[in-house]
Symmetry: C2
Subunit: 181 residues, 2 copies
């Protein structure tokens, strides 16, 4: 059945939101169109009225997740603390889209990779802008190193089976980053 233009925009937005969450949670391959549409309260058939393909959805979902996450601004200190917290580790669906999907985009078509690339660049730029200018001579270097360490630690903490080791990776990386810069 037909719906309002307003309704359609809302539907599209809900599709993107749910896709963004599901992709982060389960990975691109494990999530089907039907699952995304059902999560958005629709049926699978209508999907192609909104997007040309699953691949297009992946690209847009990455972009949406990135802007969504970029909105949550903090000073670098607390940003690192939140990023490397058990809460963030355990909440993949609402967490950093790069930690959840960056390793995967290697296997995706150019549009998806490009969306991720844009997101990563903007995250680095944002972090560099947020850093105080007295920490080190090169704020961009500091931003890249900090971001890499955070992302790597989160991925490792999520990959590991043993809770003790997982917690240790988070806390020790946080401590290590506090001493170094």
């Amino acid at each position: 059945m037909r719906v309002t233009q307003e309704q359609m925009r809302e539907n599209r937005h809900r599709i993107l939101s749910e896709a963004s969450r599901l992709f982060r949670e389960k990975g691109f391959d494990a999530v089907g169109i039907a699952e995304v549409m059902k999560a958005a309260g629709l049926t699978h058939g209508g999907f192609y009225g909104h997007f040309a393909s699953k691949e297009e959805l992946m690209a847009h979902a990455i972009a949406q997740a990135t802007t969504e996450v970029s909105g949550r601004c903090d000073d670098p200190q607390t940003l690192v603390a939140k990023y490397l917290s058990p809460a963030h580790r355990d909440n993949v669906a609402d967490g950093c889209p790069m930690a959840a999907l960056a390793a995967d985009v290697r296997h995706r078509p150019p549009a998806t990779r490009s969306a991720m690339s844009v997101g990563i660049r903007s995250q680095i730029d944002g972090l560099a802008r947020a850093l105080p200018d007295d920490v080190t001579a090169d704020r961009r270097r500091e931003a890249i190193g900090t971001y890499a360490a955070m992302l790597g630690a989160l991925i490792l903490a999520r990959a590991v089976d043993e809770p003790t080791l997982s917690d240790e990776i988070l806390s020790e990386t946080r401590a290590w980053m506090a001493t170094a810069p």
Copy 2:
């Protein structure tokens, strides 16, 4: 046709080797049993004579890749340089299995996750053992932080589309790690 027991051991080993390379290169989902067996010079049917399931193959492939990579010993200095080199970034199939697959094991059954967990723990332990004891009070902390930063930077460098940014992530992370500890 039947083959020598020796031949069978070789076949199993080749299946594992090719699986390990292919999984790293393309990811678990994108590689099928048939492709692995063909790469090993066999046909898909014989697979279940060697492994009970694809999942079992994934777990063993991770273990094999980990021991294989652990054999390449260097002092920490050159290890970091090699790890964060464009050569390593561009050679995923023979590179660090954690950088290639750690983010993926979140979606795999326990046996696969466990194999990855064991690998990560051994990598951290090995790195801690290799570190000189005068760098800092806590070698384990140093090892965890260093490993997280390396892994994160490599994943980001591989995810990014723009070669300039990718190179920058590698070199700046290397420089950042040299200043910090």
